[in-house]
Structures are given as C-alpha cells and as structure tokens.
C-alpha cells in the first residue's frame, strides 16, 4: 500500500507558480497597457495641435478685426485725448502770476523788465529788473517778493543807482532779481 503524504505546508501547496502561459498573458497585458498609453498620448497631441490651429486662426482674425479701420478712429481719438491731457496739465496761466505779483509790489517800486521762461518740470524762472525809489523801498520789496506764492528760491543779483541819461541826476535804485518758480505759480 502506497501512501502519498504531502510534506509541504498548506501555504506552500496553495502558492501558484508562474507558468509560461501566464507569463505570456502578463506580457500581452503589459504591451496592451503601453500601447494604450502611447495611443492616448498621440491622440491628445493631435487634439492639442488641431485646437492650437483653431486658436491661432481665431487670434489672427481678432487681430485683423482690431487693426481694421472700424476701430482706428476711436483709438486715434483716445490717443489724442491722452496726449491732450498732458498738454492741458502743462498749460500755464501767466496772467494770474502777473496779477499776483502786482499784490506783492509796493508803490515805490516798479518793474522795467520781466522775463519768464517755463521749464519742462512745470515750474520756471522769472528774471525781473526794476527801479525802487530808494534802498529802503528796495529792501522792503525784496522781503515781500520772497513771500510771493509759488516762489521756490529767490536770488538777488544786483542793485545800484539809476542815473538818467544826459543828466547826472539819480532817479532811483536799479535792481535785478531772479525768482525760481514752482508749478503752482503757473496754475489757476
């Protein structure tokens, strides 16, 4: 009597071994997965390409539409407005400066020459030459001018006796002053 005795443990007995058939199936499955991944990538790539072509065409069409004459007038107007905005911001009001200056001139002083030049920053330089009745009037005038609204800096240049031509008579004190004005001096 032959007795077959299984000496292996039950876990070992249940463990399946990789057969040739299963190895083949596994390989095929692996290939199928790889092929599917590759196909998906190719499909997505071609889809992106076709979408990109459509979007590029839409961009070209939109740009063509925007560059067209139908909008150019409005855009030109807008551009003019933007530039005009800057020009108007730079618009000086000289008469206000003259009138303001009038309030800061004492009766014993009068101007012979006024020369004003605007600079790019909105301010400007005012050079004045005038005649004061005497040194006392001139000193009071200089103190007053320093308080003129819009004056950034004040530079006294010179003062001397004014002699009437042809005679030796003195007709006051001739003086000249430079005033560096800021932008507010030329604004309303």
């Amino acid at each position: 009597m032959v007795t077959n005795i299984n000496l292996s443990s039950p876990e070992v007995a249940e463990k399946r071994t990789l057969t040739g058939k299963s190895a083949l199936i596994l390989s095929i499955v692996l290939f199928a997965i790889v092929a599917a991944a590759y196909a998906a990538i190719i499909f997505l790539k071609s889809r992106y390409e076709s979408q990109e072509k459509k979007v590029s065409a839409a961009i070209a069409e939109k740009q063509g539409e925007m560059k067209g004459s139908s909008f150019s007038d409005a855009l030109d107007f807008q551009e003019r407005l933007n530039l005009l905005d800057k020009v108007v911001d730079d618009h000086p009001y000289w008469d206000d400066l003259f009138v303001k200056m009038g309030s800061y001139m004492i009766p014993e002083v009068r101007l012979d020459k006024f020369s004003g030049t605007k600079d790019g920053a909105g301010g400007g330089l005012v050079e004045i030459t005038g005649t004061a009745a005497n040194m006392d009037a001139l000193s009071r005038e200089l103190i007053l001018l320093k308080d003129l609204p819009g004056v950034d800096s004040f530079e006294f240049k010179q003062a001397g006796e004014k002699i009437v031509q042809g005679t030796d008579q003195q007709s006051g004190i001739l003086f000249s002053v430079d005033l560096k004005m800021n932008q507010s001096a030329f604004q309303k």
Partner: protein, 281 residues
C-alpha cells in the same frame, strides 16, 4: 513540463519587459514631452485669445463711447489738429490780439530743432519735426525714447508705432505792444484759445521812453508759444500687446479739462481793486 515553463518565463517575460522599456524610452517619453509642449503652447495661445477678446470688448465699448460724443470730437480736433494749420492758428491769434487791443508787430514761426531744449523738456513732444528733418533718424521719436530712456509701455491707450505716440510742436514767437490792461487781456484770451497753446516764454519791458516822460504806459511784449499737432492714425498702425488689465476707456477727464480751458468764462483781469496794480508803473 516544469522545464518548459521555466524556459518560457525566461524568454518571454524579460524580453517583453525589455521591449516595454524600449518603447517607453524611445516612443512614449518623447511623445509625452511633445504633447506637454503642445499643451503649453495651446494654453498660452488660449490666454492670448482671451486677452484679445477682452480687449476687443473694451475697444467696442470705447468705439461706442466715441460715437456717442458730439461737439467734443470737433473740440479735440481743433485743439489738436492733424497738421500745422498755421493759417487758422495765426488767424485766431490776430483775432485775440485785436479783441484785447494789443498791437501785433511781428509773428514768427520758429524751428523746433531735434534735441532742442524744448523738445527734451516736454516728454509728450516728438524730439524732432519730421518736416524740418525729413531724413533724421530721430524724427518722430518721443523725446524720452530718443534720449535713451525706455520706450513707453505698449498699452492700448498708447499703442502705436513710436512715430505716432507723440505730438509735433509748432513754436510761434509774437512781438506786440500794448498797455498793461491790454496785455493782461491778451493773456486771458491766449489761455483759452481753441487751439491749445502753451506760453513758454514771456518778456515784457517798458517801451523806451523819451527824456521828458517820467514813465511810459506802453509795454513791449515778446511771447513764445507752443502749439501742437498730431498726424491721424492709419488703419493697421496699431500694435496690440496689452494685457486685459490695460485701461481702454475714453479719457473723459481729458475732455473735461479741455472744456475747462477752452470754455473758461472770460473775466476781466483784476487790476487795482484788490490791491493788484500795474507792476510796470
């Protein structure tokens, strides 16, 4: 049987694994990177299209706002014409002079030289007049750009070729004679001219007087003024590179400012009553 199975395992599985690795390395990986590149390009173009659509919408609104404007179009056209329009400008100047009673003795058009003090000082003025310098390489380039500073941002509100993004300047020099009151009147008129002009330089002097006269009422005046013009934009001049955040709205503020200047109610200059006086007397 066991031997056959082992042989198959040895042959098929490693070979197929090796093949799979080869396919992944030589086909799938490059295609994957290629696909990602295409996806990135598509995404960029899509955002560009979205941005353009946004801009297109804003420009349509701008156009609709522009179409709804009435006199403002004419106002801007006169304030900033497309050409020098010297005849109209001189006519307006002489009309202002006669209204104020001032006597114009000389009106001259000065050349605006490329790189001149004025052109450099005003950033919105082209550094050279194309008429004066047809062959100049700097002609028509904004002063900032010509001076080497970075060009202005290329937004839609300023989206033009450089030659269109600045103003041409006409410089006029006026010599006149008049009294203090006439002179103040003249300045009032000059300030609200239809053609926007900025007085750049003023020289006022008491007219040379005879020995008998203590002081003269007459003043000699020399004024240097800047007027501007801008050539019209041609269709196709526009470059669109702005983002969706770029403001493309009609600059109503500029229209209001312009109206304030041009439609300023005339008020006779205040002389004497409040202490102000003729500073030349």
């Amino acid at each position: 049987m066991i031997n056959q199975s082992i042989k198959l395992k040895i042959l098929i599985l490693p070979a197929s694994l090796a093949l799979v690795v080869i396919v992944i390395v030589f086909f799938i990986k490059p295609s994957f990177f290629d696909m990602n590149e295409k996806k990135k390009i598509l995404s960029e173009k899509q955002s560009q299209l979205d941005s353009l659509n946004g801009q297109g919408q804003k420009i349509k609104e701008l156009k609709s706002d522009w179409e709804s404007l009435g006199d403002e179009k004419t106002l801007v056209q006169i304030a900033l014409p497309e050409s020098e329009n010297m005849d109209i400008y001189i006519s307006e100047l002489t009309s202002k002079a006669s209204r104020s009673g001032i006597l114009l003795s000389d009106v001259q058009k000065e050349a605006v030289l490329a790189g001149s003090e004025n052109a450099e000082n005003l950033p919105y003025v082209c550094s050279g007049s194309s008429e004066a310098f047809p062959g100049s390489t700097q002609g028509g380039i904004p002063a900032e750009t010509a001076a080497g500073a970075p060009a202005p941002a290329n937004d839609l509100s300023n989206s033009t070729s450089p030659s269109n993004n600045c103003l041409k300047m006409v410089k006029i020099s006026i010599m006149a004679k008049g009294t203090w009151e006439q002179f103040l009147d003249f300045f009032k008129y000059l300030e609200d001219m239809n053609r926007i002009s900025n007085v750049d330089k003023v020289v006022v002097a008491v007219e040379s007087q005879s020995q008998e006269q203590q002081s003269s009422n007459l003043l000699s005046i020399n004024i240097s003024m800047n007027a501007f013009f801008k050539k019209g934009r041609q269709a196709g001049d526009i470059m669109f590179a702005a983002g969706p955040a770029t403001p493309v709205e009609l600059n109503q503020k500029a229209i209001e400012k312009l109206k304030e200047v041009i439609y300023a109610p005339y008020a006779a200059p205040l002389v004497s009553p409040n202490g102000e006086r003729n500073i030349f007397k």
